[in-house]
């Protein structure tokens, strides 16, 4: 066993989180940025294979499993964590928040380097806990959003846990197939387990309908916390999706395509900067989910290339949005404008990130998005609605690309280029600039020297022996495609600019959750019979109580306390208790005999 595999990274990073919380701010952030940065060379050099095998509750567990997939995740997680800690320091985050963030980073490392489902779900759940703490730490509106976030992720985690248990019953081991002693076929066994796993992981990657937590939570905490949040949960979700479905699944691929369009469309409606960016996480993760769902080695290499690139440019976008909020104090695009004169560095970094996410030639998004789209054309079926030579999934992904261009033209236009900014604000401070410019440089480097990216991908996309269709980034048709998408985006924005500016806040699915459950079932049931209406009222009341207790415990508690001093309708007295006991025993005896 070499030095590199003696301790799993999660242990070191958790210890780091505790150390950081105890140190002064400057020293804490310095060491907090250094150690994740060291995780990058570690991830590059650590030898492949399953290390640190142990017994956990009587089951085999692998705490450190290295293969090309986890290696790629380790490299990019370490890199962005180091930059984000630097950014936190520059943005006046306190050490407690950075410590929470580092514990979140640590558990993400634990999840992507797990060699069995048990270890994976263990860290998966801990990620939900640590990220909730990170959100809560900011206080204010973030607290309630944090509750909704925690509940939804608790639900998703429980579904995934059920899937894993079901999987265990069938194959009798928790290990991954690549680990010695693992089952013969990789992934979650099919049937019920697969369905549960897809939905459980679907919460983390933001399947349409399960995505409401994304735009709900990510805009609310501290600006530096958003940079951490936008990276780890959804990308670990994509990684988990690959582990569960290594051969892909058609439904998942199309869900990915739909997410790409849906996210971009809703992003277009947003005026809150970070809310807009959150919808784009869903859209971009849609590309990755599509890549995993297609299942060919080309598409999966593309999905993981996109994970890598997306973390860079989405981290950068949240950093630039954060700087704008930090300097101007406003979150709404409607109140901004003309900032490029005031903050040229931020505007420049934003432009790089926006061109990257939109997939403009010369930037990293162009490379990885190209691989996935190429995978959807050459290695996936035509689907139900092919348009000319564009296959169904292919045009869905291209359409998402147009939407992305449109919404980032909107973001850039209203924040930086439209009109004049009243008054004067300084640009990003020195360390913020260092963080942003270094990530922006990486976005361009990986866009121009695409070989640098190809070498860390799990499958070599330039070798015909590995992938079905050899991928080349800079071909004339691909360049034309990139430019055409940009032009379409420009035209689209010019056409929709007026109607969009008049649009209020567009309701999303979370506005439908509660009313749909309440009034939908109620209307239906009342219509049927009076008896059902009575039953339904009880149900609605119970749901209301539960929802209110969970979402706003203070009100409920306050209300209960008022009642408390008078009577206790719920409390049984001695006589009633004895009656209950007598009835209970009678019923039990009747039931038994």
């Amino acid at each position: 066993m070499s030095m590199l595999t003696t301790v799993p990274p999660v242990v070191i990073l958790l210890a780091l989180a505790i150390v950081v919380s105890r140190l002064p701010r400057r020293a804490g952030h310095a060491i907090g940025a250094l150690v994740p940065a060291l995780a990058v060379p570690w991830a590059v050099m650590v030898p492949e294979g399953a290390h640190l095998r142990t017994q956990f509750l009587g089951f085999d567990a692998v705490l450190l499993n290295v293969d090309p997939f986890s290696r790629l995740m380790g490299i990019i997680f370490g890199l962005i964590a180091a930059v984000a800690v630097l950014y936190s320091y520059a943005s006046e985050a306190d050490t407690t928040q950075t410590a929470f963030a580092l514990s979140y980073v640590a558990t993400s490392f634990g999840a992507v380097f797990a060699g069995d489902w048990l270890t994976l779900i263990f860290f998966w759940e801990l990620m939900a806990v640590t990220s909730t703490l990170l959100v809560w730490h900011y206080g204010g509106k973030a607290v309630r959003a944090g509750f909704r976030y925690a509940l939804l992720h608790g639900l998703g985690g429980t579904l995934l846990m059920a899937a894993i248990l079901r999987h265990y019953v069938e194959v009798e081991t928790f290990l991954f197939a690549s680990v010695p002693g693992g089952p013969e076929t990789a992934g979650i066994s099919s049937g019920l387990a697969a369905a549960l796993a897809a939905i459980g992981i679907g919460v983390n990657v933001g399947f349409i309908g399960l995505h409401a937590w994304l735009p709900d939570t990510y805009p609310r905490p501290h600006i530096a916390a958003s940079v951490f949040l936008c990276v780890f949960t959804t990308k670990t979700g994509v990684y988990g999706m690959y582990r569960a479905f290594p051969n892909g699944h058609e439904a998942i691929a199309y869900m990915g395509g739909a997410m790409a369009i849906f996210g971009a469309l809703f992003a277009l409606f947003q005026n809150d900067m970070r809310r807009l960016l959150s919808y784009h996480i869903q859209s971009q993760v849609g590309y990755m989910v599509a890549g995993v769902g297609i299942g060919s080695s080309l598409a999966q290499a593309g999905a993981f290339a996109h994970v890598f690139n997306h973390i860079l440019y989405k981290g950068l976008l949240f950093m630039t949005a954060g700087v704008v909020i930090y300097r101007t104090g406003t979150e709404s695009l409607k109140k901004l404008g003309g900032l490029w004169r005031e903050m040229p560095i931020t505007a420049g970094a934003f432009s790089v990130a926006a061109l990257s996410i939109a997939g403009f030639p010369g930037f990293n998004g162009f490379v990885s998005k190209g691989i996935i789209i190429s995978g959807s054309h050459y290695t996936f079926g035509k689907g139900p609605l092919p348009l000319g030579e564009f296959y169904t999934l292919e045009w869905m992904l291209l359409l998402g690309g147009v939407g992305t261009f449109m919404s980032f033209i909107k973001f850039g236009y209203y924040a930086f280029f439209h009109g004049e900014y009243d008054g004067s604000v300084p640009d990003a401070n020195r360390l913020q600039s260092v963080a942003m410019v270094s990530v922006a440089a990486l976005c361009i480097i990986y866009g121009v020297y695409d070989t640098a990216l190809f070498t860390i991908l799990p499958f070599d996309v330039t070798s015909g022996a590995v992938v079905d269709h050899v991928y080349e980034t800079y071909t004339i048709p691909h360049l034309i495609e990139g430019v055409v998408l940009a032009v379409l985006g420009l035209i689209g924005f010019a056409v929709t600019k007026k109607p969009l500016s008049k649009l209020g806040r567009v309701p999303d699915i979370d506005k439908l959750y509660n009313p749909a459950v309440f009034y939908g079932s109620r209307g239906l049931v009342v219509g049927v019979t009076e008896l059902y209406a009575a039953v339904d009222r009880t149900v609605v009341q119970a749901t209301t109580v539960v929802t209110r207790t969970v979402t706003s415990p203070n009100d409920v508690i306050a209300r209960l306390r008022d009642d408390d001093s008078l009577v206790h309708p719920m409390r049984a007295g001695i006589g009633l208790s004895i009656l209950i006991l007598a009835v209970f025993v009678t019923v039990a005896l009747l039931a038994l005999s």
């Binding site: 207790t549 306390r561 208790s577 025993v585 005896l589």
Partner: protein, 499 residues
């Protein structure tokens, strides 16, 4: 010496319990040292006994030399040895808390030791009538302890506990009578062999006995809907008593229920009468859900914890009723782990109330910085209770769920998984209040800030905080002991469960 250990375990606290009353002639503060000495001896004996059992198997003792099945037999196997050790260690630990928290009277410590004697007796006995006797001793001592609070509400709670508990115990006695009529014996091992031979499992006599005995014990375990005495008793008793009885009384009753299930009625009975198993599983599931729902709706933290017990004992009983080795191991681990966690939580509420005056969920806001050590322990214990790994609460639930999965009992699996979410709902709320909310009670309003000189029990001693911290540490550390314990339990359980 080794054979006499079981009876010594019962006799020692009874003798120790009578000394404080006599000592009242000399000093009115003799109770605590006497109780401490007695329980140190008790813990030593229980440790020795548990070690003997794990090394060389079951120890049994015929009281007064009358051989079983006619005389009373005391039997200690891996299961009862572990529970006896738990009783001794927890009661010794709570004494460290009682030193400062009181009550300080000699009579209190007499009752305290009597309760230890009753609980230990319930644990080691191998005779169903003898079990009734110890059940009543336990009950009477517990009623007295609850009533030792200074508020009038404590007396009312004790009266309610007394009436309901006595009716429950009487039902149990009625069931014992039916069993005697059916088989002519009271010895557990003897009953296990005669039931099914002398009286068919599905005969009315046996079924009625089962219903009455299990129903009676269910009152003591406090499963929904027979839990009504429990929140009042836990919330109104003095903090010492709350910590003590919440940790042990229901725990030992649940142990007795398991003992009846496996050593008297046996798994063949459960197989022959599926409705009995389903009734028990159903009751447990209802208890899990209803207990959690009631806990969520509580304002007072202590009442919330009490309702949480209703839910957690539902989990334990569900594990026992599934009756596969894995589920029973899980239920036992959760039973013992719950005792440590719940005792620790009640002790922590006592400390927090004395230091800050906070008793409600709202009052706990912002207390994380006021009482850092106790609040941190409280948070650790809460998360352990939710079942966050690596705490012992996770291990117990995990085994129970695995047992249910192996038994392919899917509705129970669903309820168990849902229960984790529900537990999270009420504990997460408290942890959030502690650490992420603005304080609603400020230090100048706090009673404990005033210097306490008269020893009125408002100050917090090192011992009290130590109890809370040790409970939190144990809630995590016990996980490491589970593999060894599991081996001992399997040796005991496999023959009982016919596997």
């Amino acid at each position: 010496m080794i054979e006499q250990l079981p009876v010594l375990l019962v006799v020692l606290p009874i003798v120790g319990g009578s000394i404080p009353l006599v000592a009242s002639l000399v000093s009115d503060r003799a109770g605590w040292p006497v109780a401490t000495l007695t329980l140190v001896g008790q813990a030593g004996l229980a440790g020795l006994l548990a070690w003997t059992v794990s090394a060389s198997g079951t120890v049994s003792y015929a009281v007064g030399g009358f051989a079983a099945p006619y005389g009373i037999e005391l039997v200690v196997d891996g299961l009862s040895g572990a529970v006896a050790l738990l009783v001794a260690v927890v009661s010794l630990g709570v004494l460290a808390y009682a030193r400062q928290a009181g009550p300080h009277s000699n009579a209190f410590y007499g009752l305290y030791l009597l309760l230890v004697a009753g609980l230990t007796g319930m644990t080691v006995t191998g005779d169903v009538f003898n079990l009734y006797v110890f059940l009543e001793i336990t009950g009477l001592a517990a009623y007295g302890l609850v009533a030792s609070g200074r508020d009038a509400s404590a007396a009312v709670a004790a009266l309610k506990y007394l009436i309901i508990g006595t009716v429950g115990a009487s039902l149990y006695l009625l069931g014992v009578g039916y069993l005697l009529a059916a088989t002519g014996t009271l010895n557990m091992a003897d009953l296990a062999s005669k039931l099914g031979e002398m009286a068919a499992y599905d005969s009315t006599l046996v079924l009625t006995a089962f219903g009455l005995m299990i129903g009676g014990l269910t009152v003591k375990v406090a499963l929904f809907p027979l839990h009504t005495w429990q929140p009042d008793a836990y919330a109104n008793a003095p903090d010492t008593v709350s910590a003590f009885i919440s940790a042990l009384v229901s725990t030992v009753s649940a142990y007795a229920l398991a003992r009846l299930l496996f050593s008297v009625f046996t798994v063949e009975f459960l197989a022959a009468v599926p409705v009995a198993r389903w009734a028990l599983v159903g009751l447990a599931c209802v208890s899990i859900i209803a207990g959690s729902a009631l806990a969520v709706s509580q304002d007072s933290v202590q009442r919330m914890l009490a309702y949480s017990s209703v839910s957690q004992f539902g989990l334990v009983i569900a594990g026992f009723a599934i009756a596969t080795p894995l589920a029973v191991v899980g239920a036992t681990v959760h039973l013992l782990g719950h005792a440590v966690m719940k005792g620790g939580l009640f002790a922590a509420t006592g400390v927090i109330e004395r230091k800050t005056g906070a008793t409600t969920v709202n009052g706990y806001a912002g207390m994380g910085s006021r009482v850092p050590l106790s609040a941190f322990s409280f948070a650790v214990l809460s998360l352990a209770m939710v079942g966050v790994p690596p705490a012992v609460g996770f291990v117990g639930k995990w085994y129970i769920v695995l047992g249910a999965v192996n038994a392919e009992n899917w509705p129970v699996v669903a309820v168990l998984l849902a229960s984790t979410l529900l537990t999270l709902a009420y504990f997460a709320r408290l942890v959030e209040r502690l650490y992420f909310a603005e304080a609603t009670i400020h230090s100048e309003e706090t009673p404990a800030e005033a210097p306490v000189t008269d020893g009125s029990g408002q100050a917090v001693s090192f011992g009290m905080i130590a109890v809370v911290v040790v409970a939190a540490a144990l809630a995590v550390a016990l996980t490491a002991a589970v593999p060894a314990f599991e081996q001992v339990l399997r040796d005991t359980l496999l023959p009982i469960l016919n596997q």
